[in-house]
Amino acid sequence: MPVNLVVNGEERAVAAPPLTPLADVLRDTFFLTGAKHVCGEGFCGACTVLVDGKPAVSCLTPVGLLEGSEIRTVELLADPSGDLSPLQAAMERHDAVQCGMCFPGILMSLTALFETDAAPSRDTVRTALAGNICRCTGYERIVEAALSVCQPEAAQ
């Protein structure tokens, strides 16, 4: 029985075994390869997407539970014209990106944070990223960039 989803605003149906991780459906069926399947145990956060507005590790999210759910992935953040979102633009401006594998998940974790807390403190941002591993950057620029979006004056 197919599962009906709204993925990045588009109604989609997927006929995959119910325990198939959402990450695999996004990547293999919808070719949304932004979310990365990295650890498969929910600790690295590279596969983070928003399910009904809440952050979820899509590697541990069985597609069978998602009938009618609204999924948002990193591919939705930038404007369709290609312009980066303010958060993405801040990451670019701060030269935060290195290998880039963790960013799709980090951007979605931060998007989820900002939707519940428009002006988080530095510690709140850091804690909100406790489920996102970045092996390249040492995190500080990511935090700086995030703060520059929500508290432009504090980050200067």
Partner: protein, 781 residues
């Protein structure tokens, strides 16, 4: 005039699509008709293979190909060709490949791989170096003497895969002096998993009798050549291309999944994808090796080190790989930092029945610097000298002799210590933040080097006046292919970085390259690119001299134009020159090459070393403040500061990013990342639940001062900046924790349980009874 591009904080051209999620890493690549592969691995550490029966697996649904040792006759190695692709006759480590399967889906491939029937006869295993070096140890490679040696000079025997020695001066006389204090220290360090987020992954296909492998690697040429060697085919029959790589850190400095996928592609006639699972990566990553170190020094009351002897055992696991080569580093890391009156160093790679180890950012240097700097602090305690004062007196300076007798140029470390003192003076101490916990601080020094070596570059001037840089360089995340190289090329040709297209690595298109690692890309690829640009520039000026009716020597190349010096209005655009070339000389291109010049060691000092002297030394000074919770053993980093020798900063902001990232990886090594191996030879940490890398709440912003101006053979005086930031971190943290707790820190990582054990006095000192206190007794006969 446009602003200078050297020293500019150029943005990354790949950032936008990485942020959009559009960048397609190797794991994101699919091909029509692609099959999925799985590897059957050994689940014991040591056994004789009685039989491997693949018949049932071949009959399973979706299975298109099964390959085994019969399909891969060759053996691979860096120093010794000891490593078959699949275990042959004998299993030497838990996780060793036995067979590989390609099927329509990954689940089918996995199921079929599990269904291969393997009959084994278990053999005794040596899973620690102490066990492997015991007199009655099982011989892990009974045929070791017959292996092909790919590099001469290292002594080998039994479970000693490689031995490298340094002997300069008379240490016996030094230790016998009556005016010296003798200090002896022992250390043990565990393994560290590189943990790039992108696992080792590839897609292989076989067409027109040649293999094409798209892979996540740092070393496209090594993958090409190793795959050919293992498969018994010509290297020219393998083409390797490399998309954006999701992190490497040394893990991808050797072949990995590629030969399996290649064999399966040939056998099935279909493209084959092979991506390691995280568990595969935990079980088989070529971790930074565990090591055991005994070091002793004879030091005068004035802080002169008149004699030093050390033994370093490096666990190479079941096969040598990079680790025998890495024995060479001890001479320059444990033998670095300080002037030594006499020195004997023994660096031994030991076979064990464990997963092979390999390269990891600042290979060998991280733990030898930890050992050396802790030993140095123990010396200071023994002779009653302030550790900073000792370092100021004893560090290598201009004309100092290195351990192998090379002569260093320039005073670098001493002025860097002054710069660190200044940095500390202008940055308030965070001691108050310790808030009742134990507070400690330490400043440590480190010696590293740029791994120079051959690189080739081609620069094509295109008809539109822009250029394409063709190399085998790979963008692994450090940004050197996206920032430094376009900056170097555009600077050389009077263009803007955006005018430089950087060709992704393709062994069919670009010349040979050792690979991306060792901090070498900006230096080696930069030098080759600079040479290629010189040829292009000469051709541009020659054609422009006809167009401007001026002598080439009077011409200047800047801002996309050639002009006559002193008459800026008399100019032609580079695009016009390129167009003219189409009808006069033909398209303009230039080739460049680079390799290390080969700095001399003192004859007779070093044996078994692949790098006897450093062409391009790099120094670093780190300072760290910690707070240690006496109730739980948790270490909090209160502050961290780095003064790093960068030669010349091409893109300072990019270097700051490398330092922050490298220091945090070092904090993981120092504090969190622990690999333990059980009695059966199995790595206990199977994923991120138990293998703890630093997370955002664990880190601090690193205070950074770039030290420019030290001697360098690099282009524009640059040195690689991406590898060295991890070098001193474990040393700085361990010395600070020792200062905070008063405990003798002899092991890392300093996990809360270990630190609490140190505070409680219950943490046992490492038992290194298998290293003889008599240095010479540890050598092979």
């Amino acid at each position: 005039m446009n602003a200078p591009v050297i020293g500019a904080d150029l943005a990354r051209r790949d950032a936008g699509d990485k942020l959009r999620g559009r960048t397609r890493f190797t794991i994101d690549r699919a091909a029509a008709g692609m099959l999925h592969a799985a590897v059957r691995r050994a689940d014991v550490a040591s056994a004789r293979i009685v039989s491997i029966d693949t018949a049932a697996a071949r009959a399973m649904p979706g299975v298109r190909a099964v390959v085994t040792a019969e399909d891969a006759p060759g053996r691979y190695g860096v120093a010794i060709a000891d490593h078959p692709l699949f275990a042959v006759d004998r299993i030497r480590f838990h996780g060793e490949p036995l067979a590989a399967v390609a099927a329509d889906t990954f689940a089918q491939a996995r199921a079929a791989a599990d269904a291969i029937v393997v009959e084994l006869e278990e053999l005794p295993a040596a899973v620690t170096m102490a066990e492997a070096l015991a007199p009655d140890a099982p011989e892990i490679h009974p045929g070791w003497a017959d292996y092909e040696e790919l590099f001469p000079g290292g002594k080998r025997a039994g479970n000693v895969a490689w031995e490298a020695t340094v002997e300069r001066g008379d240490t016996d006389a030094a230790f016998a002096r009556d005016d010296v204090t003798v200090v002896e220290s022992t250390f043990r360090v565990g393994r560290q998993n590189q943990t790039p987020l992108e696992p080792r992954a590839c897609v292989a296909s076989f067409e027109d009798g040649r293999f094409h492998i798209e892979t996540s690697t740092q070393v496209p040429w090594a993958v090409r050549d190793t795959t050919a060697k293992l498969l018994g085919i010509a290297p020219s029959d393998v083409r390797v291309t490399v998309p954006a790589v999701g992190g490497g850190f040394g893990l991808k400095f050797e072949f990995a999944v590629e030969p399996f996928a290649a064999l399966l592609a040939r056998a099935s006639g279909r493209p084959v994808r092979l991506v390691n699972t995280r568990r595969d990566e935990m079980q088989t990553a070529l971790c930074r090796e565990n090591a055991e170190i005994r070091i002793r020094s004879a030091v005068t009351d004035e802080g002169e080190i008149v004699g030093r002897e050390a033994v370093v055992l490096m666990d190479c696991g079941a096969y040598g790989g990079e680790t025998p080569f890495l024995t060479t580093m001890t001479a320059h890391t444990l033998g670095g930092n300080y002037r030594l009156g006499s020195v004997k160093l023994l660096s031994t790679a030991v076979y064990t029945n464990t997963a092979p180890t390999g390269a990891f950012r600042a290979c060998n240097g991280t733990y030898n610097t930890f050992a050396l700097e802790r030993h140095t602090d123990e010396i200071c305690a023994a002779i009653g000298m302030d550790p900073l004062e000792f370092r100021r007196r004893a560090v290598i300076g201009n004309r100092s002799l290195g351990s192998t007798g090379q002569v260093f140029e320039g005073d670098v470390l001493a002025p860097m210590l002054d710069r660190m003192a200044a940095l500390k003076a202008r940055t308030p101490s965070r001691e108050a933040d310790a808030d009742g916990r134990l507070y400690g601080r330490a400043t440590v020094v480190g010696t590293w080097f740029i791994f120079v070596g051959p690189s080739a570059a081609t620069v094509n001037l295109n008809p539109d006046g822009r250029v394409t840089l063709v190399t085998s360089g790979v963008e692994i995340g450090s940004g050197s292919m996206m920032q430094a190289l376009p900056q170097i090329v555009s600077d050389a040709l009077g263009l803007q970085p955006a005018d430089v297209t950087v060709r992704a690595a393709d062994t069919d298109a670009a010349g040979y390259d050792v690979g991306i690692g060792g901090g070498r890309q900006t230096v080696s690829l930069g030098a080759a690119s600079t040479a290629a640009c010189a040829e292009v520039k000469k051709k541009i000026l020659n054609i422009a001299s006809d167009m401007l009716e001026a002598d080439p020597g009077d011409l200047e190349l800047a801002d996309g134009h050639v002009s006559i010096a002193g008459i800026p209005d008399r100019k032609v655009s580079v695009a016009a020159v390129a167009a003219r070339a189409q009808v006069s000389t033909g398209p303009i291109s230039g080739n460049g090459a680079f390799t290390g010049p080969g700095t001399a060691a003192m004859p007779g000092c070093a044996a078994g070393h692949m790098i006897e002297a450093l062409d391009l030394p790099v120094f670093a000074v780190h300072d760290c403040e910690v707070a240690v919770d006496p109730d739980t053993g948790h270490v909090e980093i209160l502050s961290y500061a780095v003064v790093q020798d960068v030669g010349r900063a091409i893109n300072p902001r990019a270097i700051f990013g490398q330092i922050q990232g490298g220091v945090v990886q070092g904090l993981g090594y120092a504090l969190h990342e622990e690999i333990t191996i059980d009695a059966q030879g199995r790595i206990r940490q199977q994923g991120f639940e138990t293998y703890h890398v630093p997370l955002a709440p664990d880190v601090v912003p690193v205070e950074i001062d770039l030290y420019e101006g030290a001697p360098s053979i690099g282009p524009l005086g640059t040195k690689g900046a991406g590898e060295v930031p991890i070098l001193n971190v474990a040393a700085a943290v361990a010395c600070a924790v020792s200062n905070a707790t008063g405990a003798r820190v002899q092991q890392i990582p300093l996990t809360p349980p270990r630190v609490l054990g140190l505070i409680d006095g219950t943490e046992p000192a490492p038992d290194l009874s298998h290293i003889d206190p008599d240095w010479s007794a540890n050598r092979l006969g």
